[in-house]
């Protein structure tokens, strides 16, 4: 396989992906423009299986998610070739086939019109991403891939049970028949099925107790694949939760069972806080971003939770439910955009320095200016700071939570407010985490030779990143127009008026929550951005106005010593105060070994090592694994290899069966 054929396969493969993604975006936009809640596309597939007829159905909800998939897929397609050339570890065929099959199966899951296509596409998505995770063949990748595929498979087993239970009741695999049959489901059975589905999709979405695979699998994949996995695959799981919670299993009339909304809200808050807390203590850039995916999935689930609590209660709460759901969906799109951007820029850093550990990087802003500014833009977006899209969806979630708590009666209102406080805490922690990530990686002195001779990323990689950055800025500055995209899915799930009628009641430039004129707040992001722009420009002119004294450069003040990169604040040090405050969750362990010279007081070398533990990992998963292995060893000792025991087993089984079932 000469280099040329490598290059050709790579470009061809990614061109196919780009074409597919563009087609997907086109179909999605067409799907959503309809705005009606009826199914827009209904394409029956040829009759593969005698016992099931497969069909593709595209309605408002799947169209919206398809758009999210297509946007990130376009960016990944543009970004891919250059990244793989610089970073290729395994044969390009696996990479190219894998990513095309991965994006294709995700799109198929979204458009599946019946249970069997959904399951087949769902597992196909898992297999493709597994292949991409283990493609590099390193030992850590194989282990990460194993944990990922096993947990994903366990999730699918749960989904299989739910789908089959519904299919048996409905008599056919088709979603329409299932929807009809689900109406007559008795209450408790409906809740059991919903919680099973929630657990099944929760594994894939990375909700907290089931998130253990996510920080290991996403960094192992190539960056544009982990952008797709983190940005979009988690959203396909969210799509599943929405499809089951609000569409298939929704009771025919009246509000959803309260337990559903509360579970989703509590899980969302937990995932948000724990996700960001663990992200704070990571040194590996991609592991940090993976943990942030857990946090953002938590925020999305909060929006869905409040929407489920308020849905179908009539009056103001319906509008608030639509607002909450619109907030969650917008955050899905936003997260896909800025998480994709951050993963792509982390990939650019990896290409330039072959290093992802923040402690080895530093000073990249001067060497990779474009990547640095794009990473900063992504960081500002993910920390939900005003001018950009992160703030818009978090602002809407806050409004939904506050006004929702006012509508709900007192006890649950207080609980909703506490989850809003949790959301605020998450915002603060995310800001701290990304100051660390941006500051330690891009600013200050380069800490290693790799970082010192890093070069700017290839223009095609930058193009991919700029595309996603543009999406972030547009949704941030002109959220009103983004609202029209949300009409189709929200009306499909909750009926009633679409969010654009509720949220941008006074024109696309103003976001208003609470709908009717009376109460509720309005904010015009466009006006805010314009004023901020004017003020910042004015300040810039003042700062850069040529002065007589001019500017000169001098070494940083380090109490008189010659400044060297060892003085720079490392990621561990930056996160030290928070590790101290949240010690119960982290249970930090520290090992210090000193090497002294002749006299014990002269330190020749000091080795300091500290690590933070993932609670869910130790208490549940490690114990489960050791228990299973011990049990398996014990049973394995039963096969002694002696023939007499084998004959004994046969004889005893016969005697026991005769005794138990002989007389009948």
């Amino acid at each position: 396989m000469s280099i040329r054929t490598f290059r050709v396969t790579r470009l061809l493969g990614h061109a196919v992906l780009l074409a597919g993604a563009l087609a997907g975006a086109g179909v999605a936009l067409y799907g959503m423009s309809g705005g009606a809640s009826k199914a827009i596309l209904h394409v029956p597939l040829p009759k593969f299986f005698p016992f099931a007829d497969l069909v593709i159905v595209l309605d408002g909800l799947s169209a919206f998610f398809l758009l999210a998939v297509s946007v990130v897929a376009i960016a990944a397609a543009v970004y891919g070739p250059a990244y793989l050339k610089a970073h290729a570890a395994s044969s390009p065929i696996v990479e190219v086939l894998g990513i095309n099959f991965f994006a294709g199966s995700m799109a198929l899951v979204l458009c599946a019109g019946d249970a069997l296509t959904f399951l087949l596409a769902w597992e196909g998505m898992t297999l493709a991403s597994y292949a991409l995770v283990v493609a590099e063949g390193k030992k850590t990748n194989t282990h990460a891939g194993l944990i990922y595929i096993v947990m994903a498979h366990a999730g699918t087993a749960l989904l299989m049970v739910v789908f089959l239970a519904l299919t048996i009741r409905a008599g056919s695999f088709d979603f329409a028949a299932i929807r009809q049959a689900a109406l007559s489901l008795p209450g408790p059975e409906r809740s059991i099925l919903f919680f099973l589905a929630l657990a099944g999709f929760g594994v894939k979405a990375g909700v907290v107790p089931l998130h253990v695979w996510l920080p290991q699998a996403h960094p192992a994949a190539p960056s544009h694949v982990s952008a797709l996995m983190s940005g979009v695959m988690l959203k396909v799981a969210i799509y599943g939760i929405l499809r089951f919670g609000l569409d298939l299993l929704a009771p025919v009339s009246g509000p959803l069972p309260a337990s559903w909304g509360w579970t989703v809200l509590v899980l969302g808050s937990l995932s948000a806080i724990i996700g960001v807390l663990y992200a704070l203590q990571q040194h590996d850039l991609k592991r940090l971003l993976a943990f942030h995916s857990v946090e953002n999935v938590g925020i999305i689930l909060m929006g869905i939770g409040i929407a489920m609590l308020l849905a179908h209660r009539g009056g103001a709460s319906d509008a608030l439910a639509a607002l909450g759901l619109a907030a969650a969906l917008l955050h899905t799109l936003n997260h896909a955009a800025f998480k994709g951007l951050l993963f792509l820029s982390a990939g650019a850093v990896q290409c330039a320095t072959h290093e992802l550990n923040m402690e080895e990087l530093g000073g990249l802003a001067r060497r990779m200016p474009w990547t640095a500014w794009l990473f900063l833009l992504g960081a500002v977006a993910i920390s939900a700071l005003p001018p950009l899209n992160g703030f818009v969806s978090e602002w809407m979630t806050f409004q939904a939570l506050i006004l929702g708590s006012a509508v709900l009666n007192s006890g649950s209102g207080l609980a909703v407010i506490t989850s809003a406080a949790a959301l605020a805490l998450t915002g603060g922690l995310a800001a701290a985490c990304f100051v660390k990530a941006f500051g330690v990686t891009f600013l200050g002195r380069p800490r290693s030779s790799h970082a010192r001779d890093a070069a700017e990323a290839a223009p095609s990689m930058l193009a991919g990143m700029v595309l996603l950055a543009a999406v972030c800025v547009i949704i941030g500055v002109l959220p009103g127009y983004a609202m029209r995209l949300l009409d189709a899915p929200v009306m499909r799930l909750l009926g009633g008026a679409g969010p654009s009628a509720l949220v941008t009641v006074r024109g696309p430039l103003v976001l208003s929550a609470g709908g009717s004129f009376g109460t509720g707040t309005a904010v015009s992001m466009t006006a805010a951005f314009a004023l901020f722009g004017i003020m910042a420009l004015a300040a810039l002119c003042v700062v850069f106005w040529p002065r007589s004294a001019g500017t000169c450069r001098a070494p940083t003040w380090t109490c008189g010593m010659a400044p060297v990169s060892r003085f720079d604040y490392t990621a561990t040090a930056f996160a030290k105060p928070l590790r101290f405050i949240f010690a119960i969750l982290y249970q930090p362990k520290r090992t210090v070994s000193k090497q002294t010279g002749v006299s014990p007081y002269v330190l020749r070398q000091l080795h300091w090592q500290s690590d933070v533990v993932d609670l869910a990992q130790i208490h549940f998963y490690n114990r489960l694994q050791s228990f299973v292995t011990r049990l398996a060893q014990a049973v394995r000792r039963r096969s002694t290899g002696r023939i007499h025991d084998y004959i004994g087993y046969v004889l005893i089984t016969l005697l026991v069966t005769l005794l138990l079932f002989g007389r009948g």
């Binding site: 290899g641 007499h644 004889l651 005769l658």
Partner: protein
């Protein structure tokens, strides 16, 4: 010979067969076990003759003759030839104390009689108590295989259990179709030949008894 007399005779032969089984269980010496197995086969052949005369079915006579030729003469000769070729000492090592095996054998007999009591209707078809005797012979044969160390004793146990099946098969109304009986006997011989070849090959190559090998485990 009338049916009533035949079923009486079958009853006696059945009890004699049980006796031979006890002797095999209790045998401490290899030669005695093989000779008892031969006696047992002779009793089966006798039962065949009795049933043949009672039901007037020529096939049963042929089967009796076949059993006589194969089970009473050929198989013991094969086993003795293998012992001679392997020059192993004649003492039988035992995995479980003999008393325990005898107790289990008693339990098995009681279980079979308890089971077959529910099969009232089958007595018109299978003369005498051939069914419970057949089952208990077979199960005790397997018990012998389980509790004795050397491969040869396992072969003896196997042939004893097959005798049990033959005894029940013959007692069924006019007996099994002839071709099936011949086929079964042919298979028994072939099985014995293959086992003998394997035992000799292992004895010659690694010198230990095949039944002691237990590397393949877990």
């Amino acid at each position: 010979m009338s049916i009533a007399l035949a079923s009486y005779l079958i009853g006696i032969i059945g009890s004699l067969l049980l006796l031979t089984m006890i002797v095999i269980l209790e045998a401490g010496d290899l030669y005695r076990a093989i000779y008892t197995m031969a006696v047992q086969s002779f009793l089966i052949a006798l039962a065949g003759a009795v049933l043949g005369s009672a039901t007037g079915n020529i096939d049963l006579w042929v089967i009796a003759g076949l059993t006589l030729a194969v089970k009473v003469v050929a198989l013991p000769w094969l086993l003795l030839m293998v012992i001679h070729r392997m020059r192993i000492h004649r003492k039988i090592e035992v995995l479980m104390p003999v008393t325990v095996t005898l107790a289990i054998a008693a339990a098995i007999v009681m279980l079979t009689f308890y089971l077959s009591s529910s099969l009232g209707s089958v007595t018109q078809v299978i003369t005498g108590n051939a069914l419970p005797i057949g089952i208990s012979l077979m199960l005790i044969g397997i018990l012998v295989m389980m509790s004795r160390r050397t491969a040869l004793m396992q072969m003896v146990g196997l042939f004893a259990s097959e005798n049990g099946i033959f005894f029940t098969a013959m007692a069924v109304s006019q007996g099994m179709p002839l071709i099936i009986e011949i086929g079964v006997t042919l298979d028994v011989i072939l099985g014995a030949l293959v086992m003998g070849v394997i035992i000799l090959r292992v004895k010659s190559s690694i010198g230990s008894d095949i039944a002691d090998l237990d590397e393949l485990k877990g």
